[in-house]
Symmetry: D2
Subunit: 340 residues, 4 copies
Amino acid sequence: MNKINIGIVGLGRMGQTHARNIVVNIPEANLYAACSVAEVEFEYAKREFGVKELYQNFEEMIESPNIDAVIIASPSGFHTKQIRLAMEKGLHVFSEKPIGLDIEDIKETIKIIDSHPNQIFQLGFMRRYDESYQYAKKLVDEGILGKLTLIRCYGIDPSTELESFVKFATSSNSGGLFSDMSVHDIDLVRWFSGQEIKRVWALGKNAAYPELDDLGELETGAAMMQLKDDTMAILVAGRNAVHGYHVETELIGTKGMLRIAQQPEKNLVTIFNEQGIVRPTTQNFPERFREAFIREMKEFVSCIIDGRQPNVTANDGLQSTKVALACQKSIKTKQLIDVE
Amino acid sequence: MNKINIGIVGLGRMGQTHARNIVVNIPEANLYAACSVAEVEFEYAKREFGVKELYQNFEEMIESPNIDAVIIASPSGFHTKQIRLAMEKGLHVFSEKPIGLDIEDIKETIKIIDSHPNQIFQLGFMRRYDESYQYAKKLVDEGILGKLTLIRCYGIDPSTELESFVKFATSSNSGGLFSDMSVHDIDLVRWFSGQEIKRVWALGKNAAYPELDDLGELETGAAMMQLKDDTMAILVAGRNAVHGYHVETELIGTKGMLRIAQQPEKNLVTIFNEQGIVRPTTQNFPERFREAFIREMKEFVSCIIDGRQPNVTANDGLQSTKVALACQKSIKTKQLIDVE
Amino acid sequence: MNKINIGIVGLGRMGQTHARNIVVNIPEANLYAACSVAEVEFEYAKREFGVKELYQNFEEMIESPNIDAVIIASPSGFHTKQIRLAMEKGLHVFSEKPIGLDIEDIKETIKIIDSHPNQIFQLGFMRRYDESYQYAKKLVDEGILGKLTLIRCYGIDPSTELESFVKFATSSNSGGLFSDMSVHDIDLVRWFSGQEIKRVWALGKNAAYPELDDLGELETGAAMMQLKDDTMAILVAGRNAVHGYHVETELIGTKGMLRIAQQPEKNLVTIFNEQGIVRPTTQNFPERFREAFIREMKEFVSCIIDGRQPNVTANDGLQSTKVALACQKSIKTKQLIDVE
Amino acid sequence: MNKINIGIVGLGRMGQTHARNIVVNIPEANLYAACSVAEVEFEYAKREFGVKELYQNFEEMIESPNIDAVIIASPSGFHTKQIRLAMEKGLHVFSEKPIGLDIEDIKETIKIIDSHPNQIFQLGFMRRYDESYQYAKKLVDEGILGKLTLIRCYGIDPSTELESFVKFATSSNSGGLFSDMSVHDIDLVRWFSGQEIKRVWALGKNAAYPELDDLGELETGAAMMQLKDDTMAILVAGRNAVHGYHVETELIGTKGMLRIAQQPEKNLVTIFNEQGIVRPTTQNFPERFREAFIREMKEFVSCIIDGRQPNVTANDGLQSTKVALACQKSIKTKQLIDVE
């Protein structure tokens, strides 16, 4: 059987993770081409991943007759356009989240995706491929929690990256805490509940770096949400977890509760020292979701080979962005916001 | 030294707990008098606690020249009136929460309390006397969390009591989930943050007993709150914790996070069986806060002896009730509610 | 009802704990008399506990017509003699562990105890009165573990006390690690299994303070034991737990495993900081077994009032000392030692 | 670069795990040949792994000019002979544990291994490649525990496999609990301490299946060991962990304690239900050490490519077998056994 040849655009932290996973962990695929505007990433791709074709322009890369699929790991603002171009060239597409930044633009993109039903489209909600999340999803679907009443999601980045974020935020816009970070959590709420979000209220506080107030950014935020069937959802997002990378999800139902990563345990080690009983913690998302990133990419390649669509759809991207934008609007207006 | 002689009104579950604690654990006090309308409780008090004076009427009990202080554990609707009567009779007063149900009535009561500065008044926010909460408060006050940004409080009653609540709710009004249960959590938010609550949004869902919708009651509810200094607070209240009695508090600050009873561990036992690794859980509030109830009563007696006021004031009762009522109003109007 | 009047001998750390518990927590008893050779303890007893009669001599104290019972918290070498004298004076006796240091001497003492069946005798194995241990014992007796195959007991003192132990050991003899510390664990093995110990092998290593080798003392030791029915037992004893006071017990059976204080959690607080996920630990035995000490004393007083013998007998003292001495002998001879 | 072509002997559970890992996870190697006496495994290898050459005889397989290395996953009794034959044919060798069953035979084999210093030899102590173990080893080597005083190792198989073991044991010999299972733990003791074992005492008890007594087998065993520098080691081995697969390692040092898999947590999920707080457990060794098996095989292939010897040597196999045999002898003689 021939291997799937893949071209990647964007070789930042996320792009490099995908590139390495294809080379090291997915025997069924080749990383054939790469596209970057950064000269240094260009060299890196050749040296590290043995990429055969290198491009400085996405439009050129997708002209290559040698590639079957693209991975889009470029800045968020480019996603929709690149998705459309690649789909129209007949390529399979894996795009990093968020699918886009503007609702109408995303809807337009979905139309084009939908008009190519034989090409695979997958969005980078890798948490759905994490073993603990999959284990929980199976239990929830089997009904061990009864009917869900409340979902709580924490997504807090390590504080080691906060200072550099503050510097970054002075010159550039992150899209806002909820768009930048909570889309994963919003997707989990929708995935576990099978419900859309109806209404949100969001709050934020800048206590470590009050100067973020002026930049319209948040170091810590919270949102409460009402779903269509009145299930409640609570999100906490932040950039200041001193103990590392804290992604936690809780599901409360009529027959029990369940927590995924109640504590962000790094491994199976426990240390007993002057501090007390200490469990080391995961420090960042590449560490926490290392296996999930591999598994989502294996799923993408496997969907191409088997000719079936993955579980994460373009609509999941649309809906999560909608809700994230509603949260951002709530922060701005200080009001309850109805979604859509 | 003479012992403090105490009269108690109300011998329901809460009243009996206080009565027994005085008899068994507080050598400095006597349970001298008891007041109840229920004949059976009347006999019980005589037999179990050796109470010397028995009354069917609160006004009569406080006429007794033999008592120094009263414990008010009657139904919530009687609290303010009984507090006022006792204060005016020159007695020290310990009142169960909530201090009252109506804001103006509470304010009136506080005026009377304030006009008797030499008498002790203490409100039954026993969590402040729990060792884990006190340990946490000390750490927070020492600054180990930096500046607080978010507080999360769960207060969920065991589902073993839900069915009887549903029956009760058809004939009688609980005052609502937030007034009935969340006042403790609201007090914790205020105690830890030193801030008042500015704005709330509350939601609820009845999934196990949808018939509660018609009764205006909730089996599970959530509220998000903004404090005066923009600190965020999240409350989850419920009556359906299958695993027991779940009271959990989380504090997020700029320098760390802290959780009290992240898991409601019953004791130090861990069982390894077919289910996996199992830690037994606390089953109800008398079990979870057994020591706290004793300690708050020791504090009350000790304040009387030392002539100093306790840490929990009547104003704490007023503020927590205000916020609980705002949550109830939010449930009804489906809107953001400004407190006061 | 008249209160039980108690005389105490020994006002070191252990004696003071018992004295305070009687005064503060046991309304049914008075601390009436105290005996100490130390002038300072003498004053302390008067001031702190309001003791009415003070003696410098145990023989004199037990002549007092005012006391009903004695608590023996003197140095271990005095226990048997004082037990015998008090029993013969018709007094109830609570003795700290170990019951004695010499097997023949203990047997003689038991004869005298047995010849006064109407007087209460209780030995200070307080762990049996700890709530977690009692919870576990009930489960084990109900059969949730099936048949026991192995019991593991850790008893490790905090390293904060090691340096002072090393100083103490240069001038005085502790009796050895196993006699000094493991008797509690040996008692637990017997209590849970209902079996006597047949054979032991013990080892030790001095790594922090190698100079202990010359003093015949151990900072860390381990013993493996075979019980009469071939159940296995493993003890680890030590004086160097950096994280605090580590008492842990494990029971392995054919239907499950159970651990008591797998981790020596101080309370219900969890801290998330630069170290990771941290649970504070208990720091010493008065903290860990605070409630157990109260409960064992309540049991002693209650046995006197009810005229029934407690669960912990003089024979429990004999058997645990026998095994501890066998461990000490194994350390010395480097051989397997048959008990008895 | 050319891929490393591997031939495997033995396609039982262990052999299949290695075979699949090479095919799915190690792009640098090919599973080129397989050898099995079982017809069904023969077919399986062709179908599942696309193996090109199939043999019923090990001697024939190693004659193939196409293979560079062999994986030996045959029954333990064949290991030494197959290692010798392969080494002498100039092949790299990965052998499952134990390296052999007889000390003289192993020594002979090591001589032959040593006389081919340019060929890689690796033994299947995969735990050394587990991330949690590697994390712990690094901390220990950095000195966070100070000097080691005691190591405790549990290796208990799930009880789901016990009944079939009992059947198996009636017709066939497992080699004994310690040889069959504890060699991994013995290797860990040596790896962490850097010390050889001097003396052992081993015990066992058959409580679920007393009939194992007659077969000379054990369902639960324990061994205490003294190392050359007096460090103590405790092993518990068993075949009856109701909660799953329990491999736990503890290191006690002068500056702290550390536990690896104190609880055999399956993933990051916690369930709150009628049982209490439940963490699911790992169920068997392929699940617990899935990543470690991949990583040890990556190391083997990478050693071949880089021309360097792996961390696990033939001598590690010799020493662990020596100690396991001493434990078996102790069980038989009921005596302390000096190793060597």
